[in-house]
Each structure stands twice: as C-alpha cells, then as structure tokens.
C-alpha cells in the first residue's frame, strides 16, 4: 500500500554520514567497539520449547512443536525439521503482515541451512516406524522487535527452543503390536531432541569499500551498510554455513580475519546458551521433584505494578502481580501491592523454595545463580530483582549486577 511506504521511517542524511564517518575511527553509535556483541538475554516460557531471546533491542520469540507425519519417500527413516519465520508487523513499521518478504525467507533459509546441513539435529532418532510415521519438528520464529541483526538473534532463539523442547514418548503397542501409543507427560517423561552441536550465526556488516567490518549491526547501521556477511559456526571450529548475498565486495584476507573472530564469538555464545539451558533444566527438574510454591515479588521498572503470585512454576520476565480476589477473601495469605518506585520487598508466605543453582559450589545468593528466565526486559530502566529463597528471606539485586546483564555482555 502506498500509504505504508509513505510512513516508512527514513534515515536522515546526517545520521547516515555520522555512522559512516565515525566507523573510520572505530567508533559505533551505541558506544560498542567494532567486534562487540550487544547484551544477550535468554528467557524461557512456561511450556517447554518456548524461548525468547533479546539481543540488545532485538527481540525474537521461538516456539517449537512436534507432530507425527509420514516421512519423505526418499528418507523413510528420518524425521523432518521445518522453520517458519514471521516478521511480525510489530517489529518494524515496514514489515507487512501476510506473506513473508525476501528478508524473512533469507533468514529462515540461513537458520535452516545451519541446522540441517551441518547435521546438528539427529533426524534418525525422530523416526518411530520406518516409512510410516516420523516426528516432524516445526520451529516458529516470531520477530517481535527489530533492533538489527535478526539472523543471529533468531538463530539463538531457535537453538534454545530446540534444546528445551521435549517431545512425547511413544511406543508401539496395542493388540497387534502395530498401534502407536503416545504417552502423556505424566505417564512417561517426554524426551529431548538429540542435538549434536550448536551452529551459531555471527553476522558482520560491511562498510566503506569493503574494508570496515563490524559485528552485530543495529538497525541504523543496517540501513547504512554496504553489505552483510553471516558465518554460522560451531564451537568445534566447523563452519556450518556462510551467507553473503551481494553487497560490497570483501577481500579474502578480511574474510579469513572475520572467520577467526566469528569462531571466538560462536564459542562464547555457545557457552552462554548452554549455561542458560542448564540452569533452566535444573530448575525444572527440581520443580518436578518437589512440589512447592514459588512466590516471587518482583519490582521492576516503572511501568509495573506488584502483586502477589501464587503457584506459578515458571515465570516469564515482567512480573507484576496483584491479587484480584477482593470479591471473596483470599486464602493465599497477605496481599501486597507495592508502589513500584519504592524499594521492593515482599511477602513470603510461601514454603521453602529451592535456589535455582546447580550445586553448592556455585551457590551464592548475591550473584550468579539465578535463573535467566526471571530476567526482566527493561534494559533502560533501573529495576530490582527479588527472589525468594526461603521463608522470609529474599535477595535483591539491581540490574547492574544481575547475572543476566553482567555475564551476557560480551566484551
């Protein structure tokens, strides 16, 4: 529609010239160095297979589902993987609803190549009955906020979702031994997908004559860049995929240099992903083992109101809760509505909740053991974290020291 084009955000010449000229002095508009990544935040949803990744201002949500289907004729013993990308119109005013545009298709293809062709996922383990039914894994990527470098963020989101996804266990049974019985989550533990390695995409933006490279471009840098290159590598040093579609020509020596840098970044991001997933898994396992109430009163940023939460097992970021049961008396305990600007506290009428840490060696209530899922998503506003670790005990951390931002900012 023409009216949409008329409203597309355009960059001013001043901004363009400024970005280009300061790059000559190795400076970037947001203060990073040319080969610094933005802060990475990984959050998990309540269901398994749902993840939300925030890379600076870019936000991507990923959701993995599975279904039993008939396999392809030429691969009767392998499952299938399909990636669907949605460039939601909420991410950018220029994204249109409806059919995916060329960038959406390119993004989907790059992530797909990284996963499929490097055999990162074990497809043969998805086979149930050869030639008749196999598991089809579907990954939905929703781009929610476009702050630049969608490929990297979406790739991480897809990997995290795949790592935490659990598919139902199914066995052959029934009268004739041919019937497929799918077991409920309560009956049999759902199974994880087998993922051999994590292909991490690292994107470089090319400026100038092909000699200035920066990593992890913001969307303003993307509007100004001359070209883009994405390297998908894993922590073993294997190159899983390379994508350079047109744009300014780059000399091979510079490409080799970028590969070195990408390799280091890929290893770094892999360790972050593994760490976050491990914390999540430990927590989930401990929640299954003990049934207990988790009460978290979280006071974050100015746009939240605090309420009390009952019986929530996995929380997603922005927690502001209020008991709305004034119509009848609540039997949950005292309600607390705290003004968001005062410093925190909360109530704990809850029973003992286990800390989300791996083990005594890492247990330190004032630093890193907190689940990354409880991170809030207000990077610019100061906030406080309050996690209940036991009756009447709580710990506070300001955003500056929270593990999420501290350990996730690449330097």
């Amino acid at each position: 529609m023409e009216q949409r084009l008329a409203n597309t955000w355009r960059m001013t010449n001043n901004e363009k010239k400024f970005i280009e000229s300061v790059l000559a002095s190795d400076l970037r508009v947001d203060g990073r160095r040319p080969f610094d990544y933005r802060d990475l935040t990984i959050k998990f949803g309540r269901e398994q297979g749902l993840s939300e990744v925030q890379l600076g201002q870019t936000r991507v949500m990923s959701y993995v589902t599975s279904q039993l289907v008939q396999p392809y004729r030429d691969r009767p013993n392998e499952g299938t993987l399909s990636i669907f990308t949605e460039f939601s119109p909420m991410a950018d005013p220029s994204f249109e609803a409806g059919r995916p545009g060329e960038f959406a298709v390119e993004l989907g293809r790059v992530i797909d190549r990284g996963l499929r062709e490097s055999s990162a996922m074990d497809m043969e383990s998805l086979c149930v009955v050869v030639g008749k039914s196999v598991w089809s894994i579907r990954v939905d990527l929703h781009i929610v906020d476009n702050g630049g470098n969608l490929i990297d963020a979406a790739n991480i989101a897809a990997l995290v979702a795949l790592l935490t996804f659990r598919r139902p266990d199914c066995t052959l049974g029934g009268d004739d031994g041919q019937e497929l019985i799918m077991h409920d989550a309560e009956v049999r533990e759902p199974l994880p997908l087998i993922i051999h390695h994590l292909p991490i995409a690292v994107t470089f933006a090319v400026f100038g004559e092909g000699n200035i490279m920066v990593i992890d471009p913001t969307h303003k840098e993307e509007m100004v860049m001359g070209g883009k290159m994405t390297f998908t590598m894993n922590s073993n040093g294997d190159i899983c995929a390379v994508q350079k579609a047109g744009g300014v020509g780059v000399m091979s020596s510079i490409i080799m240099q970028c590969l070195q840098i990408a390799s280091a970044k890929a290893a770094d991001i892999t360790s972050k992903i593994k760490h976050a997933v491990e914390i999540y898994n430990t927590e989930r396992a401990s929640q299954k083992a003990n049934h207990y109430l988790l009460e978290v009163a979280n006071q974050v940023s100015l746009s939240d109101v605090i309420m009390k939460e009952k019986q929530v097992e996995n929380l997603i970021e922005h927690l502001a809760y209020m008991p709305l049961d004034e119509l009848e008396n609540s039997n949950q305990g005292d309600a607390l509505a705290v003004d968001t600007r005062t410093k925190h506290e909360s109530i704990s009428q809850g029973r003992y909740t286990r800390a989300f840490v791996r083990g005594p060696a890492n247990w330190d209530p004032y630093s890193r053991g907190i689940s990354s899922r409880l991170a809030t998503s207000f990077p610019t506003l100061p906030g406080f974290w309050c996690v209940l670790l036991g009756p009447k005990t709580f710990l506070l951390e300001t955003e500056e020291t929270t593990l999420l931002h501290a350990e996730n900012s690449l330097g």
Partner: protein
C-alpha cells in the same frame, strides 16, 4: 443466587482471578507496547499509529483501526480473523475517531501463551498498549471471561481446561469506571449510563437468561478491580522515554 462452592482445579474460588501482570513500553520500535498476562495466558500487544491514509472501504472522515492477530503457531485461520474483528470493533468504540481523520492506527497482537480467556487478555493488553502509545481514548475497555458451570454458578477467568468442561462462557468487555476529580462526587453517578454499559459480549454455549445477567454482574464487579489495577499501573509510570524514535 446460588453460592455453591465449586472446586476449581487450581484451587481458586469462583470469584477469584488469576494473577495479573502488566508491563508496558517493552518494544523499542513500536510506538506503544504492553504485555498482559493472566496466569499462563500471555499476550503482547504493540501499537503503531496514526499513519496517513485509510484502507479501501474505510471511512476517510474518521480514523480507522487495523488489528493484526498473530497466533503462537500455525497459519492464520477463521478464529484469528474473528478475534481481529471483535478487537477492532471494541477498540473503535473506545478510541476518539474524529480527532485524526484519514489515519490508520495499527494494533498487532502476538499470543505468547494461551490458557483460557485469550480474547479478554488481548483486549486488556491492547488497551494498555494504546495508553502507552498515547492514543486518545474515551475510556478504557476492561475485559473478563465469565463461565457458567453445570450447577449454575458463575466462575470468573476460567483456564483452558475449565473452558472446555463448562457448559457456557462469555467474554465481557466493560468500560472502566471514571474517577471523578471532584472529591464529593454524588453517588448517583454510580448508576449512570457508563456504569451500566457493556461494550462487547461474546458468548459460547447455551446459558439461561438469568444466569447471563448473573455473569454480567459478576463480570462488572471484577472489571472494576481490573480497572483499578490498570489505573495503578499507569499512574506509576514516570514519563521517561518520551522521545521514541520511529
């Protein structure tokens, strides 16, 4: 009015809502955004607007609203289109349509989790996002889902499992109660037309008329509480990031 105690799976009483959470100003590109969750039903709404021009078929003398509903997975089908239509009509009744004629305000709703009462959650999220974007509104639309069990008792805010089991449920949207600036507001205002109005009602299943009115009353009382929650969460926002770059 049968005040039977109904056993709900998560231990709530009949009039108890799930924990509400609202956070605004989450996205950086959108002009307004809000994330609203009721228990495990989580919806993120983003607002862009107003943009120049209206779509074909819309009245250019008024502003128009465009709603895009994005489900968590799968293709967009009839259910999503129905939600878009209901959301659009509801929001059209609360927005001031004559202030900016010949413009389009887009509201994009993304479902992050669906555990019952999805449409009310989306309506609440959209209102919060509209406020965050600064779109002028007459009043807020506050939505609630009210279900009717076999025993004839109305339960508020059913989960998905409850929705599937009960005989009928209704999504109700009420205007939020205005707060009078004058300290001595006459109590006659309480029964004024705004308090008795209902913006939207979508029912599923069969319910007797008496029970429907019962649901309306319960729903209105609950919405009064939800609108207090809205107000509190809006009042606490400091005008921090007023300069939003498009």
């Amino acid at each position: 009015m049968g005040a039977m105690t109904v056993d709900r799976a998560d231990g709530r009483s009949v009039n108890q809502l799930r924990p509400l959470a609202c956070s605004r100003n989450i996205l950086h590109r959108a002009h307004g955004s809000a994330r609203w969750s009721q228990g495990d039903t989580i919806v993120l709404a983003a607002v862009y607007g107003p943009k120049a021009g209206t779509k074909k078929g819309e009245n250019p003398e008024k502003a128009s609203i465009e709603v895009i509903w994005k489900p968590k997975t799968g293709q967009i089908g009839k259910l999503e289109k129905e939600y878009e239509m209901i959301l659009k009509r509801t929001l059209q009744s609360i927005c001031l349509m004559t202030i900016h004629p010949n413009t389009t305000t887009s509201i994009i709703v993304q479902v992050f989790g669906d555990d019952g009462a999805l449409l009310p959650c989306a309506i609440n999220a959209s209102c919060a996002a509209l406020v965050d974007a600064g779109i002028p509104l007459k009043h807020l639309a506050v939505a609630i889902c009210c279900g009717l069990t076999e025993g004839g008792s109305a339960i508020l805010d059913p989960t998905k499992a409850e929705e599937q089991k009960i005989q009928a449920f209704a999504y109700l949207v009420f205007p939020n109660s205005p707060l009078s600036i004058l300290p001595s507001a006459p109590s006659a205002e309480v029964d004024g037309p705004i308090e008795n109005g209902i913006i939207t009602s979508v029912t599923h299943g069969v319910m007797p008329v008496v029970d429907y009115f019962n649901c309306l009353e319960r729903g209105r009382a609950a919405c009064a509480k939800i609108s207090e929650f809205h107000r509190r969460s809006f009042e606490s926002q400091v005008p921090g990031d007023l300069t939003k770059a498009t």
